[in-house]
């Protein structure tokens, strides 16, 4: 089945694909986006209005696609990784189930080679991205507070910060006693009505989808606008491969529609926006006589340098009921006290803290963030009562440096429902990351004790925490040491771009979505401004 050729084909409708599609469609380009998932109806498809809402975390809204196993999902072989990759496949991608943390990478994150003699500098700076951070903030709607000394000055935030509640007031006392940095972090959650979307009513489980659209998932932010400008979004379309023409340029994509029919969409330029696992998967599966090792892979780096943010967690138990079920699960406090490099700590680069509210009842019985089920038997009720609504968790989010042996490859045996090879993850936690997380556990324990916790437990490495998928088609000026240039443009295939987290050179130590979207808008401007060169020569 053949469709009309488009100017721009975007593969993936998540954080980056939505922002890019909006930008190009607004400028009058003919945009087609292929999305393997479907539209979700926030009122009907999200579990937050149902009495068994918590159980959906274990089934159809589990963040792990292997557990969830929805028809939109593809399997990921993670047997060779201590961290399980997490993602969601629907219109909006993983912004459907994300916690909406919206910190930007910091200026030093773009200069790690110059400053710390590790990995590579990015070919772009914080200052170059800043207008795109601001533009994206206006579309997503950011709750926050300016004046954070851990960042250069920022433009005013769209809405006030997410409330602290009793729990936040308790943990911030710990930071204050130690004289350590904390700040209400940027969060893509409306705290007042903004851009036609409601204010958050503090219901809690952002990870199950936001029924009232207060959380900025791109199905409710960018997509309605992109579609109003003429972008065409095709759902249930799972891309198998990108095809090439005799000139070695991208011709379009072959995909399976929701009925399993093989279809082809041609375009003048092809944009990959499928996350740090989905993007290398498609490139590696796009082999041809001209590109026997996969498309855009002359450097051999497609699928290499996979970075997660490894997470450890420290949970403190307090005497008082902290009303920890009220408010978005992420408390939206961050600390950058240990963010920048200090080699006396025994590792290079650093980590941030994210503070999280108490676990909900089923999650608490299942051990919360300590991952150890609550005892059964005669002590069960006493133990539950001692901890429910009385816990605070500090998640330690560490900067993971790129390593060639952390990879995404094609699994030789496992396929999705359409017969496309599944991605296989091979990942080892580096010594540097281990030392970093251990340091974070020790310091976060100090915070808990200073705040008055009577019991502190930790998990040294969260398994189900591979939220951030980065590095697998890195940017750079050297075609032997990178897959795409500073505009996300493939060194090998001039009308092929990557705009998702795959192009990160390093990971920083904050959630990547704000930076992913700023990059997508920056690349969109480059494509628009150079359209004669990029589109007309294909």
């Amino acid at each position: 089945m053949q469709s009309q050729p488009a100017d721009v084909l975007v593969i993936g409708s998540g954080a980056s694909g939505a922002a890019f599609s909006w930008s190009l469609a607004k400028a009058g380009f003919d945009v087609v986006c292929l999305e393997q998932g479907k539209w979700l109806n926030p009122q009907e498809d999200y579990a937050t209005t149902k009495t068994d809402w918590e159980l959906h975390r274990q089934t159809d809204f589990n963040p792990n696609p292997n557990v969830r196993d929805n028809i939109s999902d593809y399997p990921v072989n993670n047997s060779d990784s201590p961290i399980a990759p997490l993602m969601y496949n629907a219109v909006g991608g993983s912004t459907i189930h994300w916690s909406a943390h919206f910190p930007r990478l910091k200026p030093s994150d773009f200069k790690v080679r110059t400053l710390d003699d590790v990995a590579d500098d990015w070919p772009i700076t914080y200052q170059e991205l800043e207008p795109y951070f601001d533009l994206n903030d206006r579309h997503m709607g950011v709750a926050g507070l300016i004046g954070d000394p851990a960042y250069p000055p920022k433009s005013p935030r769209q809405t006030p910060p997410v409330g602290l509640g009793k729990l936040g007031n308790t943990i911030t006392k710990g930071f204050d006693k130690l004289g350590w940095h904390w700040w209400p972090s940027d969060s893509a959650i409306n705290t007042t009505t903004y851009d036609g979307r409601a204010a958050c009513n503090n219901c809690g489980p952002c990870d199950l989808g936001c029924t009232i659209k207060a959380k900025a998932s791109t199905d409710v932010t960018y997509w309605p606008k992109a579609i109003s400008f003429g972008a065409k979004l095709v759902t249930g379309a799972r891309v198998r491969e990108i095809t090439v023409n005799p000139k070695g340029l991208a011709k379009g994509a072959v995909y399976y529609d929701k009925y399993g029919n093989t279809c082809e969409q041609e375009a003048k330029v092809v944009i990959l926006a499928c996350n740090g696992i989905g993007t290398p998967r498609i490139l590696l599966n796009s082999t041809s006589p001209s590109f026997p090792n996969g498309l855009a892979n002359s450097s051999g780096l497609v699928g290499k340098n996979l970075m997660f943010h490894p997470y450890a967690a420290v949970t403190g138990v307090f005497d008082e009921d902290l009303e920890g079920h009220k408010g978005p699960v992420p408390l939206n406090i961050m600390s950058s006290q240990f963010y920048e490099t200090d080699l006396t700590r025994g590792f290079v680069r650093g980590y941030a803290y994210q503070v999280t509210r108490s676990s909900s009842p089923v999650s608490q019985a299942r051990g919360g963030y300590t991952n150890t089920y609550m005892d059964w038997g005669s002590d069960h009720h006493a133990k539950f009562k001692d901890s429910f609504n009385k816990t605070v968790t500090i998640a330690i989010i560490g900067e993971d440096l790129p390593e060639l042996n952390n990879t995404v490859t094609l699994d030789p045996n496992i396929t999705d429902q359409d017969g496309i090879p599944a991605p296989k993850i091979s990942y080892r936690l580096s010594d540097n990351s281990r030392k970093m997380l251990d340091h974070g556990i020790a310091t976060a324990t100090q915070v808990m004790e200073a705040a008055g916790a009577h019991q502190v437990a930790s998990d040294p490495l969260l398994k189900e925490a591979g939220w951030h998928l980065m590095g697998t088609t890195k940017m750079g000026p050297d075609e032997n040491n990178s897959v795409v240039n500073k505009f996300g443009r493939s060194h090998d295939v001039k009308n092929l771009f990557v705009i998702d987290g795959s192009i990160f050179v390093t990971a920083g130590a904050v959630n990547p979505t704000s930076t992913i979207q700023a990059l997508a808008l920056y690349i969109a401007d480059y494509v628009k401004n150079n359209s004669r060169d990029i589109l007309d020569k294909s």
């Binding site: 009495t51 773009f110 507070l145 009220k326 009842p361 038997g377």
Partner: protein, 152 residues
């Protein structure tokens, strides 16, 4: 008893007894069976073949283990029942882990239990919660300590 069930009456009754060992009653909280956690599991395994097999084999194992000690599970006192279950926990952790998991799932989604633990029985939406903004006054001191981002 009229039930559309995979479990025999004996198996169903055993599951009920086991549930109350996992979560017994105390002065304020109901026992698992009072909020029908065993019924939840019975319904669950009707729809999930993999879990069905796990639970049928696991329940049989509890019976067999009890029988080897010379008594049926229902004839045992509380200490012996707990000992039998600890034996199963060690020898068949896959089944036992799922048994505990599903019992907790059923118990902590029961409206009666949610009210008793102070959460309330309403789902998160549409009401949500009131959340106090909190005390941001100490941020002045954080700001006054000066820039901590690294200029590049």
């Amino acid at each position: 008893m009229s039930r559309a069930s995979i479990l025999t009456d004996a198996e169903y009754n055993l599951l009920e007894l086991v549930s109350d060992c996992l979560i017994p009653a105390n002065e304020t909280m109901p026992a698992a069976s009072e909020v029908k956690t065993h019924e939840f599991i019975d319904n669950l395994i009707q729809n999930k073949p993999q879990l069905r097999r796990l639970f049928l084999e696991g329940i049989r194992q509890i019976n067999d283990t009890a029988f080897q000690s010379g008594k049926t599970f229902d004839a045992m006192n509380g200490i012996d029942r707990e000992s039998t279950l600890k034996n199963i926990e060690d020898s068949n952790p896959e089944f036992f882990g799922e048994l505990v998991n599903q019992t907790y799932n059923a118990y902590y989604t029961s409206p009666r239990v949610l009210i008793l633990i102070g959460k309330g029985s309403d789902p998160p939406q549409p009401k949500g919660y009131f959340l106090e903004k909190g005390d941001l006054s100490s941020l002045e001191a954080v700001r006054n300590r000066g820039q901590i981002w690294r200029d590049s």
